[in-house]
Each structure stands twice: as structure tokens, then as C-alpha cells.
Point group: C2
Chain length 328, copies 2
Amino acid sequence: MKAAITVFELSKKLNLSMSTVSRALKNHPNIAAETKERVLKLAQQLHYEPNLIAVGLRTSSSMELAVIVPSLSGFFYDSFITSLEEEASKLGYSLFILLSGDDPITEIDHLRVCRQRRVSGVFACITPETKDLTHYETLRELEIPVLFFDKVPAGNYNKICLADEEAALLAVHALQESNRKNVLALFGNMNLSISQRRHQAFTEAFVNEPKRLITDFSVTTEEARVRVLHAFEHAVKPDALFCMSDEILIGAMKALQQLGVKIPSEVAVVAISNGFFPTLYHPEITYVETSARKLGKVAFHRMIACLEGDMEVKELSIESSLVKGASL
Amino acid sequence: MKAAITVFELSKKLNLSMSTVSRALKNHPNIAAETKERVLKLAQQLHYEPNLIAVGLRTSSSMELAVIVPSLSGFFYDSFITSLEEEASKLGYSLFILLSGDDPITEIDHLRVCRQRRVSGVFACITPETKDLTHYETLRELEIPVLFFDKVPAGNYNKICLADEEAALLAVHALQESNRKNVLALFGNMNLSISQRRHQAFTEAFVNEPKRLITDFSVTTEEARVRVLHAFEHAVKPDALFCMSDEILIGAMKALQQLGVKIPSEVAVVAISNGFFPTLYHPEITYVETSARKLGKVAFHRMIACLEGDMEVKELSIESSLVKGASL
DNA sequence: TTGAAAGCGCTAACAC
DNA sequence: GTGTTAGCGCTTTCAA
């Protein structure tokens, strides 16, 4: 990179000191209006841009935030990051993307990068295998705030999640209002706490229902597809389908297309979703929205609060709401 | 952020000079093995991590790369960025995400941030309204290489694109092999050069075909849906459908679901796609793959070449290939 | 209202 | 093989 114009050079050309120039540039109160004007004019003319690396070193504040996510592709984290970026760039923060691929070793590597770059804060979504949080603790040594989101560790940490139980309950309520008898409820990887919580909330809410309920766990989209295919081979076919996530929904919908089952006349469908995939189908799928964008926005402002010295450890939760399609 | 352990502090504790410690840390050849060991041991013990902000200032190299994309959500850029990040983190580069939202003002803002942060390089996908490239030129003043990708400006710049014409041709060939008579070909926003190029290549390849061809441009997914709905109201219905992009495909498929048209018996479908959405349907859609991942990987290595001093301006192009589903 | 100077943490030229 | 020192570009006391 070539050397750019500096405060020093500006000060030379204006016969001013560096400090005066520096102050003028940031609109410091006790600088003469005329001086400010002169400085600003030349700065503009010469395309002066402050060197944020130097500022960062001097003020020990990088104004950079890191986001560690398993992946970007698909369902959720892209929205989350979009939301973060929109908020961040407003306040002059820049966003590092670090992809863990759900690999704890990569996650540790990324945390080291966070420390080396002296990022101002870290948004972290842990991998399913993350047991040991020492590497996150080392960030605390540097007083770099960490905000866990979505997939969060147990324990006393700053975190922010979706209200999983509430989302499952909303779906159950929607199902109750319809006149269905045989509900097939599909959940994700049963090793993930999110699947467990949603499953538990869902089944508990069902205890007093006069409906027949079958629940099942699928790890992948393809597994969900096969599961639905099987379900419709039985004499008693499901007349309602609940999908815990977009991944599951996609698999289930593919099966319904394959079977040529009509929605909602033959089967009702309800999902929990970030909102995009339910609109892909005709009729559009009714879903409980767990908004990644909302999560991102709240997470960002929580981070700002931490950066401004709010040392209290909090667990925040994002509410869901039912979005009506025509699948019910 | 709290002060971390520094080279200076290490040197004090070891009764060595800063330079020796610095050299030992980076495995410089003429440092005694024993000294290296001592330094490394203490560094590890005290969780020393080099301050990349200071290194950046000293070496005027931030090891940060910026990516300017219109959005993350959905179709393409998430894959591109994933691919970039995987390559970048291998070489110690970190990735800034800057979202333009297809707004030229935001784009200019982001370019300013790139200059201020003295990023090592910029990957840029321009907005449809970007006419004036002066703000990109100011990066050249700082010798910050810019690599345009996907949506690129006309003129003599470093750029890397998908082979649009080739992709359209592959789709035409696939269609030729099927026995269809009435082809409806849907393209995207006709103000985008990508739409124009694909449209032109497609129609040119069709001149000697004994098929009937109707082409149309839609700006949004919803427009594509409506367009397909209308097409099937006519006496002569399409028996083949070409979709230029995922956005178009999604809209078209929604219409086909709504109409209850069978694929491929009643209508064949071919798309150009990054690969995810065609697998969402049953039967899976045959598509010409324009791989964002491949684009990302090639783009990254081209960027590295630029950073290593390759001043030659190049226009690179990524080849496509047909991926067979069961929609034809 | 302005200026002089120190120093953030690191690297590298130059000395020994 | 090791040490001394200057300086990257900026902000910020302290002094005038």
C-alpha cells in the first residue's frame, strides 16, 4: 500500500501544528472557526482520510467487531449478519466474518485472530462440540466482550437467544385451531439443545389434546424428506405437519411435492422459520417467525451497551410471532 | 480494551532486547536456538499475542480484505464469501463484509471505510446504478487493488465473472435435446448487463431451432411468478421453461405449483443457478451451474497475485457445467 | 486558541 | 547473535 496523506503533511502545508489539525479534523470546540475551515478544505482537496490503523493503535480501539458463525449459507446467519452490518456501519464499526464450519479447532483459531486484531467485541455462535470455553475466557483477559447468540453455552455468560419454547407453543396453538387429527411433528438433530427444547415444549403443550401426535427427529433435510414419505405410506396418514426448522421444512415439502399431497386440503403445514423459505411454496406456509434480523439488531445494541461499560451479565431472548400463510 | 502483554514486557522479563524477542517470535534465522526457546516459552505462558494493529501500522499492511456485495441473503454472495473466507483465513487475511444494498451512496461510504482502514484489497460487486468509478479510483491512489466480480463495470479493470454466454448456451443445448416445442425463457432485470448477455446468447443460439420461443424479463421473483401464470392461460401453453437465475426460478416454480402443472411431463424446466434452489423441488431441476464458490476461490487467488505485484489488468471468467436433475 | 512532545506496539536498519 | 533506535500516523496531555 502506498503512503497516503497524513496529519503531519497537512500541518506542514497549513503552517499549523499536528494537534491543531487533528483537532480541527474532529471538530474540537476550541479551534477557531476559520482554522477549521482551512484544515477541512485542504483535507478534502488532498483526499485526506484518517488512518484507522494508527488511530486504533493510539486509542487501543479497533472499532472492529467479529462474528463467528458455523456458516453463511442458507437459513439464518446471513440474515443475522446483514442486520448486524446495517447497525454496525451506522456507528463506524466494521464487521469481520469468521466461519467455524462447526469445527471447534477452527473456532479456536478464529478466537486467536480476534485477540491479535484486538477486536472491540465478538459475537459468537458456538459449535455443537464446543465444551471448553477457556479460549473465550482469554478474550475476557483483554476485556473484549463476548456475546453468545443462537447456539450458546451453559453458564453465566452474556447471551441472546430465540425463545424456543414460546415458538413451539405458538405453533401448537395454531394447530389447535385447525381441525386436524393426526399430527406429524418433525424436529432437528436431537443432540442439539434447540431441538430438545422445542420438542419438549411442543409435546407438553399437546398433553390434553384429543389429537394423535407422532414426533420424530431428523438430522438432515434428506432425512426429513424420507421420514415424510414413510409417514404417508401408512393407513392413517398425517393430516397436519409441523417442521421445527427451515432445513426440516424443505425436506418435508419436497416429499409432499413428490407425493402430490395437497396443502392444506389433505395436509396442513406449520413451521418455525426465519421467514424466507415458507414463501417459496404455493400455498405459502404458515410459520412461527424466529427472526434472525431481530436477533441481530438486539445483539448489536447489547454489544454496544457492553462496550459502553455495562458489565452486568444478561441472558436476552427474542420473541416470536405467527405469520399466516395459507397452509393451515 | 485492556492492555495486553507486549514485546517490550517480554524483553524486560527475559533480559533481552525487543528486537531479539521480536525476531525469536518470528523464527528469524540468526537467533540462538536456546534464546528462541526461552522467548517462545514465556510468550506462551503469558498468552502473548502480537498486536496486529501495531504490526499493521509499522508494516503498512493490514492483512484485511474487504468484500462489497449487495446483500448476503439467498442466492449467491453467501457462497462467494464462504469460499473467500476459507481461502483468506488460511493465509492470515481477515474479511470485512460491507453490504451495499444496491445503493450507490452506501457503496461510496464503504469505499471510504476501505481507504480509512487501509485494507489490503477490495472485492467489489457494483450496484446497478454505479456509473461513476472515481471512488474506486481513489483506492488506486493508495495502491489498494480492486477486483470486481460478478457485476462488473465496463472498461479496463481487474474483473472476474461467470461465463454468462456459455451458461446460456449450455441451457439451450439441454433444451435442444429434449423434444419440446414451445419454450418460455425468463430473464432478470433487463437493465443489468448479465440479463442482456444471457438473453442475447440464448436467443442467438435459438435462431435455427424449429421451436417457438417467447422471452421475457422480470425484475422480481413475484413478477416471474405472475408471468408464468399468464403464460399458461393461453391456448398454446409452454412445454419448456428456462429461468435465468434462482430468483426467477423460485417465482416460476411457485406458479407451477399453483397451477398444478407436472414436471417434466407437462413442462420441462431448466435454470441457471448456483446449485441450491434446484434441489429444493421434486423432481430436482436441471440447471447450469454458475458456481459462486469457484468464483470466490479464483477471485481470492487472483487478489493474492495482485498483492504480490502482478500489475497486469485481467478479465477472468468462470466456466459453467450442466447438472442434471429430472426436470427435462 | 494553538503548539510541543510523548507514546501506543511493533519492525527493521544499523551497529556491535 | 544481540542491542539501539527511529519511526509508522495518530491523539492527548501539558504548556504557552
